[in-house]
């Protein structure tokens, strides 16, 4: 239980921290340190087990489907990192208490810091690779928020985004790598993966997995060529930099290499990829650090360089090198954290980090200066300090590489060269800041020593540097051993932790580096001049440029493809349909099925020819809109006749009624529109469209032909057989509509209702200016409501209602039904609107169309739901022949109620739609003098 707790505690602290924000910085710092202290305490009991090379495992099942378990693992390596994270974390918490200003959002700061701490602990303690990945990406995310803590600064935002892009992106590669590893091993549990080293290395996907995992590690650890994000992340508040870039974030990549060392290392690929990357990073970081005028910039590049060093050590692949690497992790963390904090103090007290302005601080803050100088000396590898020890081991290992011929010289030379640079930039840090004359117009002058407690973290770390440097075996020996053992899977080589190993080649290299470095620093102006000849690459600008190029070209590409042209989208749709259908259809060819063609009577033939002509004419002559409308009417009429001709009286009637309403609707709209369609497409586009249209038409023709001539059996026999006995009606189509497939009809009238409601809502606040006259320039006729029409329309309404009733009632047995009846009623009312006007008619309609629609739907639902009460499913119809005295036999079918719902909905919806449009018309503007009645 304690391991999950260790990870969880900081997150709980993060939730709690903001609550203490009101108590001031001290309160929140104390509150924030509690989780870390408890975590340390929780780790302490495990030490005996770990010292013996043991492992502590706490595992809980979580997502077996994913292979993720909630499992944590503590061994020497993870303990080492956990300690670094927690101890340095505690120091940072203390330091930040004094670093942050009271008016800053300390709650957020500590909360994020603890989140970050928890994520780091998660990485190092996870026993499941996927779980580790979760925490890995969480560090990217939380570090993003930490780096951008001062988000009003552009540099901070950019630095944060760059860090997120690089490390988050690397995390994705790592994700892939881990998934491959899991795939190879069959488990994501660390124990399994570490035990399967041979299997992994011999697997064909090993190079891929290795590359991906290393991409993750390299991006996180700021290895060349991904190193550029790290210096820019220095825009974070210094406690953040100190934490992220000494002990945590960047060490995550290192940790990963150490963690997976038994599983991945020891191959040539590993050697070349890791050591060369490390070497390049080592050199580049060291070189650039030399030329940075920004205090933190110098430290950041030195961090890059040291990370390169550690990576190079891991890359070497020897066990001793791995030990050295682990050792340097500890040492770098201590001196670099203290240096960052010192730099923060200087920044804090002088108001700048520019070393060209900061000079001679020794006079103003000797205490801080002493601490910083010791730490810097450790960074330079001065004997008696911890940095010296691991660097010696590094030099020694660089000599052990068995590279052929000339190449054997390269590692030691590179190591020495990097050492020279390290000494030079360390010297610069010491000399340029604390000596080198007087300060140059500092924003805060004169600088003072910081508050007492702000120095304590630095003191502790510097003390550690010295202790390790002088008494390595006592101070850090057991921990290093345990960590090394864990890294190497138990095969720890012989090594000796002493201040000096006597006079040997590594020591010579150290001396060379030391004096070479001092020499270089003394000649710094030449180097600066030399360096100044090269144009410095501003990675941030490059990154921003790349991002901006990405976004603008993405935007350009998007707006080119998604250009807002319906014509294009529609073309794509039609072409898609044609494309997918074309293969089957071309195989179909002109296919005439086994039923063959039946003879055609010539009236039908003529009808069809006229239909085709009018359809084509509509397309060809569509520019004259009214003409197109007339042609469309003809087509609609012929289609209805076709339905009648081919045995579908219900359809014929429906089509007819719908068509007229549609035409009226179109004319209502056309009133406001231009009466002509201008030519807008080029000839080529029109030809292209015509070709597409022809292809679509041809396809439909072929399919229809094949379909009509093929054999056919369907479920419809059932409907014919059961319509009368089961549905109580002889009009099978109607029985299907209100009974067999009544649910379709319910949906259909709902569609109608929704359309009307939508139309009503859409037009509610629409204002349209009607044209003063028609296309030919005639002013509109004054006579809005012609006398004769009015006189005939009025008595027609009751008659139409009766016909509706007739069509409605017979619908179950004869052609007709609620829908057609509804349309007849609607048309009769529309005629009133046309003949006598909106106001006149609206005044006489005794109900709101909304309510008619609602009532219709309600009837349909109630008719359907009535069957519930008999235990039958929804829409089960029942019919009864009731014999009333006098009246006689009378059929009562529940489906009739349903059909009544259809009837009402149709009326309500049709009229609501048309009236909504009609209402747009400003009948007061061109009022007729005949408007009377």
């Amino acid at each position: 239980m304690s391991l999950p707790l260790v990870v969880l505690l900081p997150f709980l602290g993060a939730l709690a921290a903001p609550l203490f924000a009101q108590g001031g910085r001290t309160a929140i710092a104390i509150a924030s340190s509690v989780p870390a202290i408890i975590a340390l305490a929780a780790l302490y009991p495990h030490w005996p087990t770990l010292a013996d090379g043991g492992v502590v495992l706490h595992s809980y099942e979580w997502l077996p489907a994913l292979g993720i378990s909630f499992s944590f693992r503590l061994d020497g390596l993870s303990l080492l990192f956990a300690l670094l994270i927690l101890v340095i974390g505690l120091l940072i918490i203390l330091y930040a208490r004094y670093y942050l200003k009271a008016k800053e959002n300390v709650g957020k700061f500590y909360s994020l810091l603890l989140c970050f701490m928890g994520s780091m602990l998660g990485i190092v303690l996870s026993s499941n690779l996927l779980l580790m990945l979760v925490f890995w990406e969480l560090t990217s995310l939380t570090s993003f928020l930490l780096i951008s803590f001062w988000n009003h600064k552009q540099d901070a935002r950019r630095g944060a985004r760059m860090a997120l892009a690089v490390t988050g992106g690397g995390g994705l590669a790592l994700m892939a790598g881990i998934l491959i590893l899991g795939n190879i091993v069959g488990s994501f549990e660390l124990d399994d993966v570490l035990a399967a080293g041979d299997l992994i290395k011999s697997h064909s996907l090993y190079p891929v997995a290795l590359t991906l995992v290393l991409l993750g590690a390299f991006t996180k650890s700021a290895q060349f060529p991904f190193h550029f994000w790290l210096p820019h992340a220095m825009q974070a508040p210094t406690p953040v930099s100190a934490y992220l870039h000494s002990a945590t974030m960047v060490k995550a990549g290192i940790f990963l290499m150490a963690r997976l060392y038994p599983a991945l290392a020891g191959t040539e690929q590993w050697f070349y990829m890791v050591s060369f990357t490390g070497m390049a990073t080592l050199l580049i970081g060291a070189y650039v650090a030399m030329f940075k005028h920004d205090l933190k910039g110098l430290l950041a590049h030195s961090t890059v360089s040291h990370l390169g060093l550690i990576t190079l050590l891991f890359g070497m692949g020897t066990q001793l090198a791995a030990v050295a690497a682990v050792f340097h992790v500890i040492n770098h963390a201590t001196f670099k954290a203290s240096l960052f904090m010192a730099a923060g103090i200087i920044d804090h007290e002088t108001g700048t980090r520019d070393m060209r302005r900061i000079n001679g601080l020794w006079r103003y803050m000797p205490h801080t200066a002493t601490l910083a100088m010791v730490a810097a000396a450790s960074m330079a590898g001065v004997p008696l300090l911890n940095g010296f020890l691991s660097k010696e081991m590094f030099f020694a290992e660089s000599l052990q590489l068995n590279l052929p011929g000339f190449w054997a010289w390269v590692p030691p030379l590179v190591a020495t060269l990097a050492g020279i640079f390290a000494v030079a930039y360390s010297a610069r840090f010491i000399h340029d800041v604390f000596f080198n004359g007087k300060p140059v117009d500092l924003p805060i002058f004169p600088p003072h020593e910081p508050p007492r407690y702000m120095k304590i973290p630095v003191e502790i770390l510097v003390f550690a540097c010295i202790m390790v440097g002088v008494f390595p075996a006592i101070s850090v020996g057991p921990l290093l051993y345990a960590a090394a053992a864990a890294t190497l899977g138990g095969n720890v080589p012989e090594y000796h932790l002493t201040i000096a190993h006597g006079f040997n080649l590594p020591l010579v290299m150290s001396f060379a580096a030391f004096f070479g470095g001092l020499l270089m620093y003394s000649q710094r102006q030449r180097f600066f001049d030399f360096h100044a000849r090269f144009k410095e690459i501003d990675e941030k600008a490059v990154f921003e440029a790349v991002i901006s190029w990405l976004t603008t070209s993405a935007n350009r590409l998007t707006s080119r493809i998604e250009n807002g042209s319906l014509q294009r989208y529609a073309t794509l749709l039609v072409i898609s349909v044609l494309a997918v259908a074309i293969v089957p259809l071309t195989s179909l060819g002109v296919f005439i099925g086994e039923n063959g063609l039946s003879p055609i009577d010539w009236p039908t033939l003529i009808g069809i020819v006229v239909l085709i002509l009018c359809a084509l004419a509509t397309a060809v002559l569509h520019r004259e809109r009214f003409y197109a409308l007339v042609l469309l009417s003809v087509v609609g009429l012929l289609v209805s006749l076709g339905f009648a001709r081919f045995s579908a009286p219900d359809l014929a009637m429906t089509q007819l009624s719908v068509e007229v309403v549609t035409i009226v609707l179109l004319m209502l709209a056309l009133f406001y529109m231009p009466s002509w369609t201008p030519i807008e497409s080029s000839t080529s586009q029109r030809v292209r469209d015509a070709v597409i249209a022809l292809a679509a038409g041809t396809g439909m023709t072929l399919v229809t032909l094949a379909m009509l001539t093929g054999p056919f059996t369907s479920i419809s026999e059932y409907f014919l057989e059961n319509s009368k006995p089961g549905g109580g009606g002889t009009n099978v189509v109607n029985v299907i509509l209100v009974d067999f497939r009544g649910f379709d009809t319910l949906g259909e009238i709902t569609v109608l209702a929704i359309a009307a409601l939508g139309i009503y809502a859409m037009l509610k606040n629409t204002v349209l200016t009607p044209p003063p006259g028609d296309g030919q320039g005639h002013a509109w006729n004054r006579d809005a409501y012609p006398l004769m029409l009015r006189q005939i329309a009025r008595p027609m309404l009751p008659l139409a209602l009766m016909v509706s009733a007739y069509i409605f009632l017979r619908g179950h047995n004869m052609p007709g039904g609620g829908f057609i009846a509804g349309l007849i009623t609607a048309i009769a009312l529309i005629l009133q609107y046309i003949a006598s006007g909106m106001i006149w008619t609206q005044h006489r309609v005794p109900f709101r169309y909304h309510n008619v629609i609602g009532l219709g739907l309600l009837f349909a639902v109630i008719a359907g739901a009535a069957s519930y009460s008999f235990g039958y499913p929804f829409l089960t119809s029942t019919f009864e022949y009731i014999k009333w005295p006098v009246v006689g036999k009378f059929e009562v079918a529940s489906a009739l109620v349903f059909d009544l719902g259809v009837y009402l909905t149709v009326i309500g919806a049709t009229l609501l739609a048309l009236v909504s449009i009609g209402r747009l018309s400003p009948h007061s503007a061109i009022k007729s003098n005949k408007e009377s009645a």
Partner: protein
């Protein structure tokens, strides 16, 4: 079905067809809109009326009773044809559709 009935039906059908055709010919041939208006309002209406009548006779002798639907259709046609003609003429006058040469009087200028 008696021979008389058959003759009646045949005659009605042929008369109906003929009038319908004549109406259409008028529509196609007459020189201006106003003259063309006469074809459909009279000949066609009458022609279709005759055909409907044939239907009434036909079905009533099939033992299906007098078809009120047919009568409704006919009544409706005769009721509406003048209205249609009227409102179309009004539209034509409004649009100033050309009248044929030799027309006396003139449509109203609105």
């Amino acid at each position: 079905m008696s021979a008389l009935t058959e003759y009646t039906i045949t005659a009605l059908l042929l008369i109906g067809g003929a009038f319908t055709l004549v109406g259409a010919i008028g529509l196609a041939r007459l020189p201006d809109f106003y003259t063309r208006l006469h074809g459909p309002t009279k000949a066609t209406t009458l022609g279709v009326g005759a055909i409907i009548l044939a239907s009434v006779v036909y079905f009533s002798f099939q033992g299906e009773g007098i078809g009120i639907t047919e009568i409704l259709i006919t009544a409706f046609l005769f009721l509406t044809a003048p209205i249609s003609a009227n409102i179309m003429a009004k539209a034509a006058m409004h649009l100033g559709v050309d009248v044929m040469d030799g027309t006396r009087g003139s449509p109203w200028e609105q």
